[in-house]
Subunit: 249 residues, 2 copies
DNA sequence: TAGTGGTCTAGACCACTTG
DNA sequence: AAGTGGTCTAGACCACTAC
C-alpha cells in the first residue's frame, strides 16, 4: 500500500483557487470572493483561506488590497526567478516558447578539486559526481552546464543514474534532497574555444557565466553548478523578499 | 504631533529576535527557545511568534526542523537577491567590502521613446524623467545606469530632485511608491565606446547588461532601468519561492 | 514518550477603502 | 456605514524527532 500523504487543507485550497484562476473562473482583473465567503463555501476557517491566498499573492497571481479586495493579476508563472531558471533549464526554455532537450556529454566520478571541495564543504580529494551536459532549445545549443555533487549523496551505482533529467529532479530522485536556496555569481565572459564550439557561437560573442552553489533546507551544499549561456538574454521575474519592516528612512 | 504608526506585534517580535541573533545572544548553531517558551516570555500568542520566526526563516537566518527545534544558521544578510542588488547598488557595493558613491551624469525630462512607453505602460511621447548615473566602488566606476520614470509620478520641479540617492529611496521620497517586484533581463554584451569609456574598461572586455522594469504592489511600472556592469561578477543569494506543493513527481 | 514544530479552528478587533 | 483584508488570541490536534 502506498504511503498515505497528508495534504494540508490550505494547500488544497491554494490548488483549487489556482485552478479557478487558470481555467478562467476567476479571470484577470476580477475580484475574488472575500475571505469570509471563500471560507464559508469551502467549509474551512478564514485563517486557512488566508494561508492559501498568501501563497498565490507571493507567486504574483493575485493582488490584495486592504479595504478593497483581492484581484487576479493575469501573471501565471510562479517559477521565474533566476534560481529556478538555473535549476530547471528546460522549464525556462519551455516558458520562452521553445522545445528543450538535454544531452549528456559525460557523467563521471572523480576526486574533488580544491575549489569544488571548498564550495561543497567536503575534504579535498573526496569523491564527487560530475555531470557535463548541453541543454538545447529547438535543437540549438543554449546552455553548457557542469554539475558537481558530493558523491556520498548517492547510493546508486554511477551507471544507474539518468543524466538527462533536470538537476532538481535528479537530486530528488537519487538523493531525496530538495533544493531550497542558492548562492549565485553572474558574469560576462569571452568563451573558451571549447565553450564556443559546444554552443556553436561566432567569434567575439560574449557569453553569460553563472556559477552557483545550491543548498538544501539544512544548509548542506548539494551541487556546484557552472553554466555558460550563449543565447540572447536570460529573463526572469523577482519578488521582494527583504524584511517588511526594513523601511528606508 | 507625529503620525502614530501602528507596529504589528509579530514585527516587533521579529525585530527583537533578529537583534538577539545579531548580537550573539543566539549564536550560530544554537537552538532557539521553543515557540511556546518565546510566546510565554514575550506574552504573545504562539501564532504571533510563528509569524516572526517565519520571516527570519525566509530570510535564511534560522532553520526550523519539525520535532527537533529552531537553529541559528549564521547567515545574516536578508537582502542579497539580484533585484536588491539592482535597486540598491550602494548596499551591494558595501556588502562586497567597498565604499560606494553615486555621480549624476544627467537628469532630464523628455518624451518617452516607443520602448519606454511600452515598458512603463504610458502613451508614446508622454513625459518621462530620465536619470543617468555612474556608481563607483572605491572611486572606480562599477555601474553605468539609466533610470527612466513616468514623469507624472513626480510633483516636484525637476531641479528639486536629488539624483544621488538610491533609486528605491528616490521613489519613496518623491513618489511615495514602494518597489515590490521586477522583471529583469540579464545578458552579456560588448560595450559601446561610450559605455567602455564611462566604466574605464580595456578593449574586448565584455560587460553585464541588466534591463529591468520595477513595479509597485499594484503592478504599476515605476521605472525602466538599464545598467551596465563592468566589474568581475555579480554575487547574490536566492531562496526558493515556487509553490510548496509543486513537487516534481 | 516527551517535546518540538506544523496545521487548523473560531472568534475578536483593527485599518482601510468604497459607497 | 458596510465590507474588505490585516492582525492577534487561545486552544486543539497532528507529524516528526530525539531521548
Amino acid at each position: 500500500m502506498a504511503i498515505e500523504r497528508h495534504v494540508p487543507v490550505a494547500e488544497q485550497v491554494a490548488i483549487l483557487l489556482h485552478g479557478r484562476i487558470a481555467d478562467g473562473t476567476y479571470a484577470p482583473g476580477d475580484r475574488l470572493p472575500s475571505e469570509a465567503e471563500l471560507a464559508d463555501e469551502l467549509a474551512v476557517s478564514r485563517g486557512t483561506v488566508r494561508s492559501a491566498l498568501a501563497v498565490l499573492a507571493t507567486a504574483g497571481l493575485i493582488v490584495r488590497r486592504q479595504g478593497d479586495g483581492t484581484y487576479v493579476t493575469g501573471v501565471m508563472s510562479a517559477e521565474r526567478s533566476l534560481m529556478h531558471v538555473m535549476w530547471e533549464f528546460t522549464r525556462a526554455i519551455e516558458l520562452s516558447g521553445h522545445v528543450p532537450s538535454i544531452r549528456v556529454v559525460s557523467l563521471q566520478q572523480r576526486p574533488a578539486t580544491e575549489k569544488e571541495a571548498a564550495a561543497l564543504n567536503i575534504g579535498l580529494g573526496e569523491q564527487v559526481l560530475s555531470v557535463l551536459r548541453v541543454i538545447h532549445a529547438d535543437e540549438r545549443p543554449a546552455f553548457l552546464s557542469t554539475n558537481v555533487h558530493p558523491a556520498n549523496l548517492f547510493t546508486q551505482a554511477i551507471d544507474q543514474l539518468d543524466g538527462t533529467i533536470e538537476m532538481r529532479r535528479f537530486l530528488q530522485r537519487y538523493c531525496n534532497r530538495e533544493i531550497v536556496c542558492g548562492d549565485m555569481d553572474v558574469s560576462a565572459a569571452m568563451p573558451s574555444a571549447e565553450v564556443r564550439d559546444a554552443l556553436s557561437l561566432g567569434a567575439n560573442v560574449p557569453v553569460l557565466l553563472v556559477e552557483s552553489v545550491f543548498y538544501d533546507a539544512d544548509g548542506r551544499p548539494l551541487v556546484l553548478s557552472t553554466s555558460y549561456y550563449g543565447g540572447d538574454k536570460l529573463s526572469f521575474h523577482d519578488v521582494r523578499r527583504s524584511y517588511p519592516w526594513a523601511k528606508t528612512r
